[in-house]
């Protein structure tokens, strides 16, 4: 199919879909007029029922915790997939050695960069921790905090260079972190079943409203998510960076030339 026919097909279906979409949009409640009853109900009930201030965290870790469990494992699937797909070529065994190949050009970094990164790195880490810990009271939570923590490790890369980064971060530690975090979350679901409660039922003491550790089981689950996300995203960055490093080497010869 030539590109022109393709665009024509798209335009044609767009022409059919346009009135349909207009009809749907006209049928929706006007923007900003009302919110769904489900959300209203949660806003009304949850602060009292779970002693937490952040409704989004309450939904993510309690009311609809199963969704977050699925989401966490989706991330795990994607990162495992990334690792498999990127390492398939390099082979797993030599990944430690591959980066320490001698004679690699070292990008000179100015003192200022190193200093800035040495200051910013820990600060980013602290901010990430703050976001993780305050999941139940302010915006943020395990996922956001985990991503920020992972970017903090990237600053090590900027500041200390590749070797420093590799020294600081081992791939199978990250696997353990990621798998361990996900396992912790999954066990938070199963543990209440041991005492006869429902999967992921919040059976711990709920704490006081607006307190850091309010929400019973939520901070534990939040911690699991934070570990899994921080480990996972660092792993992701690491594998991607590896790709650019390896690219400077000549390709293994004679593999796909047939």
């Amino acid at each position: 199919m030539s590109p022109r026919i393709r665009v024509a097909l798209l335009a044609l279906s767009g022409l059919i879909l346009l009135p349909c979409a207009a009809q749907v949009i006209a049928g929706l409640p006007a923007f900003g007029s009302t919110i769904a009853q489900y959300g209203e109900r949660i806003n009304a009930i949850t602060p009292e029922a779970r002693h937490v201030a952040n409704m989004v965290s309450a939904i993510n870790f309690d009311l609809r915790g199963l969704d977050t469990l699925g989401e966490e494992f989706m991330l795990l699937a994607a990162i495992t997939g990334t690792v498999v797909l990127l390492r398939g070529r390099r082979g797993e065994g030599n990944s430690e050695r591959a980066m320490r190949r001698p004679g690699r050009a070292v990008i000179p970094r100015s003192e200022a960069t190193v200093l800035a990164c040495r200051i910013a790195g820990p600060l980013t880490g602290l901010f990430g921790l703050y976001v993780v810990l305050h999941a139940t009271v302010t915006p943020g939570g395990g996922f956001q905090g985990g991503v920020i923590l992972a970017s903090g490790t990237l600053l090590i890369y900027l500041g200390e260079g590749y070797a420093g980064w590799r020294d600081a971060i081992r791939s199978h530690w990250l696997d353990a972190l990621e798998g361990g975090g996900a396992l912790l979350f999954a066990l938070c679901g199963l543990a209440p079943m041991l005492v006869g409660a429902a999967f992921m039922q919040n059976i711990l003491p709920l704490g006081t409203f607006r307190d850091l550790f309010s929400g019973g089981l939520m901070p534990v689950e939040n911690l699991g998510v934070a570990l899994a996300v921080a480990g996972g995203f660092t792993q992701l960055f690491l594998e991607f960076m590896e790709e650019t490093r390896e690219a400077e080497e000549p390709d293994e010869p004679g593999e796909e030339t047939a």
Binding site: F31, E71, A78, P139, E243
Partner: protein
């Protein structure tokens, strides 16, 4: 104003799909997929908004203050994770495909076509001056 967010969502999806349909570079295509996805963010958050409401965090405001829909926000959070995972996976696939096929152009990098007894005819049937399989492998 009352329909603008929904129209923007529809527009974003349409324009992203157009980008995917016409893209000649896989990395560009992944970006277009992200635009399609941002349509879902805009739609969901637009549907969950209410004028004059606070964010669904009762820290500075007492519980009971009218707040926007927290469920939609939880859904969009999941959606953002989906987006990040998809982008990472697709970029990996793209990089690896480039290493194998030597191109980022969807037109040149096509899945195997073992078209049966008419495999040869199929190549001939394609016009539009595409580089033939053999020619590409050799390069």
């Amino acid at each position: 104003m009352s329909v603008l967010p929904y129209a923007v969502a529809a527009w974003l999806f349409g324009v992203g799909l157009y980008g995917i349909a016409t893209s000649r570079n896989f990395i560009h295509l992944v970006g277009c997929l992200g635009v399609c996805q941002s349509a879902t963010y805009v739609l969901l958050l637009g549907l969950g908004y209410r004028w004059g409401s606070i964010a669904p965090i009762f820290y500075d405001h007492p519980p009971g203050t009218p707040a926007v829909d927290p469920v939609m926000q939880a859904l969009v959070l999941t959606d953002i994770v989906v987006g990040a995972t998809l982008t990472a996976l697709l970029l990996v696939l793209t990089v690896q495909a480039y290493k194998r096929g030597g191109s980022l152009d969807p037109e040149k990098l096509r899945p195997m076509r073992a078209g049966g007894k008419s495999g040869q005819r199929q190549d001939a049937g394609h016009t539009s001056g595409r580089v033939s399989e053999g020619g590409r492998k050799a390069s």
